[in-house]
Symmetry: C2
Subunit: 553 residues, 2 copies
């Protein structure tokens, strides 16, 4: 069988981790990319603002890249576009209206242009040797879609993030009959979202949070602040509806909310009764009980609106007794401590809190076990490939597949950097390829490498001692006592004494060296480093970074 008669799947991100989703599907040398997302730094990746896929390997594969296909507009699916699109040779980018509007906003911020093309939710479009079809799916952002890549071997169904909400807020349920029809025609491969594979049952409808929202808002006599994920316009719509039903006007606090609401209104996709949305600077004009503020910062982000409100640092808004803060959100793992700190600030203001642990104020956007099995039963794929999730999510999703009747040998477990090869006979793991991470410092937009991050970890844990040694070029002798400076190493009460002692002993050590030894500056530098590291280990039981500067004058 020729190579052109097999499909290779190359996960550059998002398989074996949460975030930076990016998948490449190839047939021979023809390829399409699905999604181009960013991730967030792990603890210990100091000073990193975001993480993007490392696509250096992709550039060496000699593939013809025909398109970047975007499933939806969440950061973990589009966040790397401005960083990576320039490296992809100006390929067209396909997406639904909300998705493209969010991408355009990013490109504008980065002063970039791109060939953005609408992704039809009805008609198939030709992309290289493939035809591509998009099926709208319900998710926690508007205009999400599954991507179907039709190949000579059959259809690849890449679900993207999805769930089955039979009564979504915008009246656009997932047309499950289309997945069923694909199944009738024959699906080669289902690559499906594993995020909530660990959760049993189905997720309640997005609409189901409305009663708790209305009740909480109705019971408050002061201001109401609601925080949620800024990209979830279904939630925003329901919060606005609940505010209006309770005779409250709505103001937005936070840049990302302004941006998302603006984009969605421009597309005519939000329903805001006339006059009910007011400028955050105009809230003084209204009594507390006629006011509801939607604020960014549900994850405790310290620069977001809610954190500033909670510390009374938000101009024009004072939180106090009688006010209510509603968390219409979940806690993203890793944020628990900082969210608890935010709660403390809000309580210190005297305000009350209602969160999703106490009332039905949040639902997830990802399919749970029942829904995931339903996707398998609709599409009836020949092969199954769990994507989007950490290993534990993938393996649970694989178990669901076998429970749903897909033979184990027709499933595959493969993480980032591990090719999956599919032909008409079998699915198997293929070659490995490099699919690392690039660490981005958001302010300067520079990339950071592993070496920088390793240095930062050492500096963070043990600090640094800089040591300056000045030698005479002519005589090969020490011209002055070495100069030692420490930062982040020892308590200031101890630091001077310890450094004085180290300085004396280092001077003694260097004075004992022969002229020949002192002639080689590189060697002296290394000797000083080793000597001081050993001294620190022995005398202060620490391993600070040692930075020796040895100069001749």
């Amino acid at each position: 069988m020729s190579h052109s008669q097999r499909i290779r799947c190359m996960p550059f991100g998002g398989v074996g981790e949460f975030g930076k989703n990016m998948m490449v599907y190839t047939l021979g040398n023809d390829a399409v990319i699905v999604d181009c997302g960013m991730g967030f730094p792990a603890p210990g990746q100091h000073g990193v603002d975001l993480v993007i896929p490392d696509i250096s390997a992709l550039k060496t594969m000699g593939l013809t890249l025909h398109a970047l296909l975007l499933t939806h507009g969440h950061e973990d699916h589009i966040g790397a576009v401005p960083f990576l699109l320039p490296q992809l040779g100006g390929i067209p980018v396909y997406g639904t209206p909300v998705t493209l509007a969010l991408v355009q906003s990013k490109l504008t911020e980065h002063h970039l242009k791109a060939d953005l093309r609408p992704l039809s939710l009805e008609d198939e479009i030709p992309v290289g040797p493939f035809t591509v079809e998009a099926i709208p799916v319900t998710h926690s952002i508007m205009d999400a879609a599954s991507i179907v890549v039709h190949t000579p071997l059959g259809a690849i169904v890449h679900t993207g993030d999805f769930r089955f909400d039979p009564s979504p807020v915008d009246g656009r349920p997932t047309p499950i009959h289309r997945f069923s029809r694909l199944g009738d025609r024959g699906v080669l491969l289902l690559a499906s979202d594993s995020t909530n594979a660990t959760r049993s049952g189905s997720c309640p409808s997005e609409r189901s949070v409305a009663p708790a929202l209305r009740q909480a808002i109705g019971g408050c006599k002061g201001k109401v602040i609601v925080t949620t994920f800024a990209s979830n316009m279904f939630r925003i719509q329901q919060i606005i509806d609940a505010a209006v039903a309770n005779g409250r006007s709505v103001a937005l606090a936070g840049r990302s909310l302004d941006k998302n609401v603006g984009i969605t209104r421009d597309l005519g996709r939000l329903n805001i009764p006339g006059g009910s949305l007011i400028d955050i600077k105009q809230i003084d004009a209204l009594p507390d009980r006629e006011l509801l503020i939607i604020a960014t910062g549900s994850q405790g982000e310290w620069r977001a609106a809610l954190a500033r409100i909670a510390q009374n640092k938000f101009t024009g808004l004072r939180l106090g007794e009688g006010d209510l803060v509603i968390f219409s959100s979940s806690n993203i793992p890793g944020n628990e401590r900082v969210i608890a700190g935010l709660f403390n600030h809000i309580y210190r203001r005297g305000a009350r809190i209602l969160h999703a642990g106490q009332a039905h104020l949040h639902v997830s956007g990802h399919a749970q076990a029942h829904e995931l099995k339903m996707m398998m039963q609709l599409t009836r794929p020949r092969y199954f490939y769990p994507v989007h999730g950490e290993y534990r999510n993938l393996v649970e999703h694989q178990s669901l597949a076998t429970a749903a009747g897909i033979p184990f040998e027709r499933t595959v477990m493969a993480e980032n950097g591990q090719m999956v090869v599919v032909d008409s006979k079998k699915i198997r793991r293929g070659d490995s390829f490099h699919a690392g991470a690039v660490f981005v410092d958001g302010m300067s937009r520079d990339e950071l490498d592993d070496l920088v991050l390793r240095d930062r970890r050492t500096l963070a844990d043990d600090g640094i001692i800089a040591v300056t040694v000045v030698l005479s070029r002519n005589e090969g002798t020490l011209l002055m006592t070495p100069e030692l400076l420490a930062r982040g190493v020892l308590h200031e009460d101890l630091s001077d004494d310890v450094l004085d002692k180290a300085t004396d002993e280092l001077a003694h050590y260097l004075r004992q060296q022969s002229k020949e030894n002192l002639a080689d500056l590189d060697q002296v530098t290394e000797d000083v480093r080793v000597w001081l590291r050993r001294w620190c280990k022995r005398h202060i039981k620490r391993r600070p970074m040692v930075l020796p500067v040895v100069v001749e004058v």
Copy 2:
């Protein structure tokens, strides 16, 4: 009213935070201390292993300290004893048998001696002008007690960590009639555990986890690993019982488990059927299905037994298909991501996981809303003071008190460093005092100060540039081009070019300086620092630490 007729409560830790619990109660100049615990570092407190109360203020108050009274043996109540007891002037330390055995073990590790005295659970003991009574309470460690300090103004009931478990594993329920009798005699102040004030209802009995444990173990055909908190001997007893009921022998993996089980067995408080506890080195002798291993590391601690088992780095034990890992534990906030990482490792081995999110495998050791109100209704205190918890927990606990009928003005909200003053007429906040934190590096046991931690944060986020400038003493001129070295600042591909540019411009800047300007070394040092900081901000949009060394030769 004389000063001796009022009680002052001085929280040195644990009020407004979780951890490092330490309270001082005074009558005139006479004082007792309740608990002396340690805390854990917050994110950003780099290289800190543990945190202890800063008692420098206590030493300047001129108090006569009569005793340290320990409620129970958890680290957040006894962990600072070896660090602070030497500063407390050899005062006697009172505790119940398990508590004292745990303290003794710590003192031995630190080569310290102390005057340890048994805390009777029946008789009152005289301590200075007070009499002290201890009432056993149920908690997630054996031998926990509430401390009652009888004063001329009435009794102070300091609950310590407690819950009301009517059917505890050791058959020693909290004798609630004794709290009721205290109420009959008149309780001045109730200082009560706020940890679970945010949770409604009551906590199920510790015994309630037994069925799920037995069922899970019974359903496994391979090895079973159970992880839990190493100090909870009630849980360990139930795990052993469930193992034996399923025909499995038990081995312990992890030092803290060995220590805790050893101490508890020596006190005759564990019931282990003969031969059912085997050495971890002997597990090869048994088939997998006759084996259960209790392992430390439920919080994902990377050096603990479970993390090593999950990575197949634990000598003599290979985790694989058919094995089951049971998490009989909760996730301590902040540990979610590292625990998720541990799950991934276990799944990679092919083993299954069962955790408390899926089955009833864990209960908390802290009283919830109903139990907390019950404590108020038993003791009927004149004044109420919520302790042990962050602000959000304290304020919720205060709400429970008013809901339980305690007038709001008889409650107090006061965090660490804020005295509470109680007399027969009222409760109020008194003076503030210094109650900071001392950061301890566990390896060297040195203290770290805020300055060190601030430096480490800067180093972690932005790295460091060390710059060496050598001037001629006689001529006041630059003797060589400045030497710049960076660590943790920039990607290695960029670093050299950027540093070369900065070096050139700095040399140019310095050569333009007059001899007079270059004569003052301190001034030159400061100038170089300011110049380079500005240069970095402008050219690389970063703020690394700048460490200038300016020397004359």
